[in-house]
Every structure is written in C-alpha cells, then in structure tokens.
Amino acid sequence: MPRGYAGKFLEVDLSSGDVKDVTFNDDVLRNYVGGRGLAAKILWERLGEKWESVDPLGPENLFLALTGPLTAIYPGTRICISGKSPQCNGIIGSTLSGEFPADLKCAGYDGVIVSGRAEKPVYILITDDYAEIRDASHIWGKEAIDTIRILNKEVRELLENKSPNAGKSKQPSIIYCGPAGESRVRTAAVLQKVSHAAGYGGYGAVMGSKNLKAIVAKGRKPLPDVANPVTVRILWREVDRRYCRRDRTFPGMWGTGYGGYAVGARTSSEPVRNWQEEWHDEKRFGGPKFDFRYWVKRYWSDFNCAGSCMKLAVIKTGPYKGTFTDNPDYEMEAYLGPNLGVFDPGECIYLSALMDYLGFSGINGGNTLAFAAELYQRGILTKEDLGFELKWGDVEAFEKLARKIVKREGIGDILAEGTYRAALKISEMKGVDVTKYAVHVKGVEIGAHGTRSGLDYRPIGYACSPQCGDHTSGVYDAYGDMWMVFADSAVVCSIVADRELIWDYYRAVTGWDITQEEWNRVLGHRIIHIQRAALLLGGPDIVWDPKIHDDNPPRFYEPLPSGPYKGKTTDRKTVEEMKRQYYEAIGWDENGIPKSEVLKKLGLEDVDKALEKLRK
C-alpha cells in the first residue's frame, strides 16, 4: 500500500444493509489517485456497460465520497463527491471542504462507496475501522442547523458511553443532504458545517434518492504515514508561507467575499438578473459592507488550512436577525445577490444562508431562481403559475419560491428539475422557447464568471469541460488544465494548491514517481476521457450532442448591454477555433468523440467499445 492512503474504502449497500471494506490495487491508485479520478474509474467499471440506462436517482447509481493521498496532509482539506450526476448524466467530481475527510482517514478509510437504496431514512456512522447503518427518521426533513445539532449530540454521547473514562469526545464530522436533497431536487448539494457545499452535479439528490441523510465520521487513529516526513514538513510550511500569508492579504484577508463588487465593476463578468447584464457598480454591495457589518469571524478555516478564505457572517439586527452563513463567498454573493436583482448585503446573506439551510447548491439553485424571475419579467410565467409575484430583488418572493421547490409544490415541482430540464418543460407548457434563457452547460448551471467581456473566463472553459458548468475546472489546452483534475483527484483545495510544489508534495507523501508531465499528458487525460464518455452516453432522460451542446449558453453570445464593455460578447469564431484546437489536443474527433486510437493507446479499450455506437 502506498503512503498517504488509509488503506481501504468502505462499501455500503443500503438495499441489503451490507457493510464491507474494499481495496484497490496499487496500479489503480497510481493511475487514478483518488477523488475525481478514482470516482471516474469506479463508476465506469461498475456502471459503464449499462451507463445510458442507469437512473442517477435510482438505486443502481453509486454515491461516492472519496479522499485522495494528499487530503488532510496538504493544507486545504476537501473530499470529492461523485456518482452519475442527475444534472448532466455524466460524472462530475464535486469537492467540499471541512473536517470530514480528515476524520474519515483517521478512522482508517480513504472513501465511502454507497449503493442501493435504504427502505427508511438512514445515516452511516463510521468510527475506527468500523461502520454501521443507523436510523435517521428523526433527522429526515431537518434543515442544516438541526441536523448538525442532533447528530453531534447523539454521536458524541454514543462515543463517550463507549469509552466512559476517556474524557470529552470531540465532535464527529458530518456530510449530509438538506431537505432539497431529500426531495431529489437536481440542484441539491452535499453539505458540511452548515455552509460548505459540494454543489455541482446534484449529488444531494443522489443522497436523498438513497434515503441517505448523512455520513458521520469520527476517527481516533493518526493520519496515514507519509513516505518522506521531512520533505513533507518543509513543503507543508512552504505552501503555508505562499498561500496563507502572515500579513493576511489574499486570500486570507478578502476571501472571495470582496468579489461581489469587484467582479461586476472591474471585469464585467458577474451575473446580474439572470445574466441579462454582467456589470454593476453598486458600491453598497461592496466588501466592507459585508466585512464590518456582518463578519463576526474574519478568518475561518477548515482542517490544516490557515488560508481562511471563509468568514463567518451573522445578521444581528432587523428582519433577518439570527441568520448565519460563511462569507458569502463570491459565487454565493453573485448568485444570491445581483443575479436576483439583490444589491443589499444583508438580503444576500439571508438568501445565501437560506439556500444552505434548505440544502441547495447556491450556484445551481440560485441560477434556477433567477431563470424563473426572468420568465416572470417576460410575462411567460405569471402570478397564476407561481402563486405570487416574482420581481427582481424581492427577497420574500425568492424565499417562497425556494421553499416551493423543496416541497415540489406546483411550479416548484418543475423548477426542482434544475434550470435546463425546467426550461424544456416550460417551453412545452407555454409553447414558447425558453431554453435561450437557461444559463447552463449540459444541464449544469454555470458558475458566476462570464466570458463576454473577455477579461474573466475562457470562451470554451465551460463548453468543452466534462465538469460542464463548474467554474473551478474549466478546460483550455488539455495540458495546463489537467492540474485541476489532479487537485480534484489528490483532493486538495484549488485555492491553496500550488502548481509547482504540489508534485513534489505528492511524491513525498506517496513515494511514487509521478511527474507533472506524466499527469498532464497521460494520467489526467484518462480521467477526462472517461468523464467525457459518460457525459456523451448520458441518459436515461437526456443525451447531449457535442455538435450542439459543446457550447456556451445562448445568453453568452448576446452583446453586453451595459458597462465599460457594452456591446462586447463571446466571439463565435474564437469559440469554434478554440474548440477545434482543444479537440485535437485532447484527442477527440471533429464530432467531439474521443478517438479510438487515443483511447486504445491509454488502455481504455472498454471506453472505446462503448463509444462505438456514437461514432456511427
């Protein structure tokens, strides 16, 4: 067993109640590392042959929560959530931060593989080299704060009773889904610590579909040994020196929470009113207003990271008194602020916290709320459809709508399917094409960075990415962009992942000799090809055609209507040219399908075989 790994994975079949340990041989771990890479491998191996028929919300899908060898040892501890995505029907690696992965590794597990569906709500409790399925009917339906409070108390008591002399037990770590996940809302996230979410992919709904409310871990063993402790120690300090600056400048000082103003005002790439605009100069939405009025803790971190890009925001006065969330970070600020026509920091914090409590992905769910509001603005959705008016900036109305979605009431049942699927249904219902207002790529609502001003994200970053709308993992040249695939597979936070040091760090932890070159040219490509194959096979409800869907949403080609870059838009010719270059670099044919010889060279014969039917 290579170093850096705890040595085994936990496999839980919720249908039969079977719990067992599984291992992967060194070859698999060396090639796929962990996290996103290993998720692609596991999903393809187990579901690849019948991929198109697997319902992401059916018992045959897998729910994966995987760490990597660098997790908890490298600053910035995250875990990668995956499965067949109910948003894109492909494979997305969606990571979230918190202590859960550290506790999991200390319990002796590198990850959890969940299959089947429990008859009643359950949670999985993991302690040292042991796991059990426990009843969760008392927390089913509970929002974030109650879920955490009840599980914390219950599990701490259990642990303290088990070793009555041992003293106070620390809190266990918990990943859970909120009420949105329970209702199988396709924009539901997997969450941790109230406000940390793995949003892209819709894996909260996968948890809900399995009747799995939470996975709770408390490990009391040490983290796995590393191959070269002295080197790791030096690199650990160096990463800290570079990213977790003593003087608390970026990212420690601002977090990304000052972006809500800056991205709109400077780069003109922030969604405003469902991306109808991307520019605003609302100084009252600026960082200091969040900072001095609401941030009660300016530096909030997760295990092993002194970067503290998070800030604890609490509203202490007024109608939203008692609300708390982190930051909100830039994406939440944008999606639950300007994109809903909200320019008041307190209101933005309230809506951001509401999305956390209900278990939405703030980006994906926020996108759907704005989509509905634009349809209301255009008179396509009416007061009769919604039950109330839905005007830009109306916090109360957006809250009502979010709760309707969670309960799947009326129009909420349609919007619970996510922006794109809702657009298809509403187009049919109203007899007008509303898909042009849906800002998504292949069913995944887009991160809060536009391409039109030309100053922020690359024109094909979302369009060709197997992560679709994910803003953290855009593609560009099939070489430099492989770095993010590595961060998601070794599972570290991309904000503190040092592109230079991470390779030495990885070698010092595992003792393996993988180089950046090998990763960027071979190992990373394998993972992308598997993700791509799964995405193109898709199904059962939607199948993507790369000729149509390897593209930005229509809105990204409308000229910017305001701001310093008024009139600018994403250039179609550039997109086509970059797409052509990317296809060639990664090894896809002119239709965007991975080439047979490329797959065979990488040893992915089964992927090649599965794609044969698409090449005809």
Partner: protein
C-alpha cells in the same frame, strides 16, 4: 529562559480560525505523526464557527493531581505544567473527572492520560498560530512565584460546552440558543 520565569498560553477563542494546525504540530511534536485525537490541544467545534482550542490551563491549585490514585501526575517545577508518568498511569480517568474543564483525556493509542506539558516551555501550538497571524494562542511570560498565585488560570479550566455557549452568544447573539 530566565529560571524565575514561566510561560502560559493565553487564548482568544474569538480569534481561532479552526485551522487545527495546532493539533497537527502538537501531535507531530509528541507523537511523531499527525494525530489530531492524540494532540494535547484539541479544537472543539460543537457548533460550526465556534472553535474552542481546549487544553490544560495549569490551575494554581491543580485539582487533578490529588485525584490520581497512583500518583502519576506531578508539577514540572520548571514550567508549572502537569506531567503524566505514563508508566504509572492506569487510565482510570479520575483526573478527567477532577478537572473542572474535563480537559485531560485518554490517549487513543494506549489509554493513558494526556495533558499539555507546554512542550517544556516552548509550545509548538503557539508558534504555528502566531505564524499564521491569528493570535488565538499567545505566549505570556510570568514571574514564577506570581504565576503560582494567579487564580485566574483556573477560570480557563471549563468544559468545551461551557465555553461554546459563551462564544456562541458572542458570535451569534440570540441565535445561539437555537444552535447549541
């Protein structure tokens, strides 16, 4: 360090980011590996956002010491820290009960009591917290005789639950009642 001087770790829970790098360096120093559960300083987070670094406060009356039935605990005369004789310790847990803050705990490996020894007067946790510029842990130097008389130390021997309640009220206001 001056022989008449001792150090004490002052703590500011409101400034603790929860990075837990103190747990990492503490366990590296004492155990040679990253072992959060064996760290002499343990960050409790009973409510998200409320981070309580929990470790021995060196009460000047040392209630833990007489509670030990096998005399495994003693005061380090150089640092005033409590030392655990791991040969003698039977893991009965009586020192934990005697501590007003239930601060000691049994080592997850061998079930012997674990108590902060101030790293012999040069605590690693403070260094890493200071390096990150959080100042949640601050090293104060005191005259040894004055330190022995300082009754305020024992006010820091509280349970994580007690500290959590106070810090939660400070951070969340009225909401604290609901989140605890």
């Amino acid at each position: 360090m001056n022989k008449n001087e001792v150090v004490w770790i002052a703590r500011d829970f409101l400034k603790c980011s929860g990075c837990r790098r103190c747990e990492i360096v503490c366990s590296l120093h004492h155990e040679g590996k990253i072992w959060p559960e064996a760290s002499r300083i343990r960050v409790f987070m009973l409510v998200p956002g409320v981070e309580i670094p929990h470790f021995c406060a060196q009460c000047n009356d040392y209630p833990c010491i007489p509670a030990c039935p096998v005399e495994a605990l003693s005061v380090d005369e150089d640092t005033l820290a409590v030392l655990v004789d791991r040969e003698k310790c039977t893991g009965c847990g009586l020192c934990i009960e005697a501590c007003p803050g239930n601060i000691p705990f049994l080592h997850p490996g061998d079930n012997k009591a674990v108590i902060c020894d101030l790293c012999g007067g040069d605590p690693e946790c403070v260094k890493v917290c200071q390096e990150a510029n959080f100042d949640a842990l601050i090293l104060v130097r005191l005259n040894k005789e004055a330190a022995k008389r300082d009754v305020n130390r024992r006010l820091f021997a509280q349970t994580p639950e007690e500290f959590t309640k106070d810090v939660a009220v400070n951070l969340f206001g009225e909401k604290a009642e609901e989140v605890i």
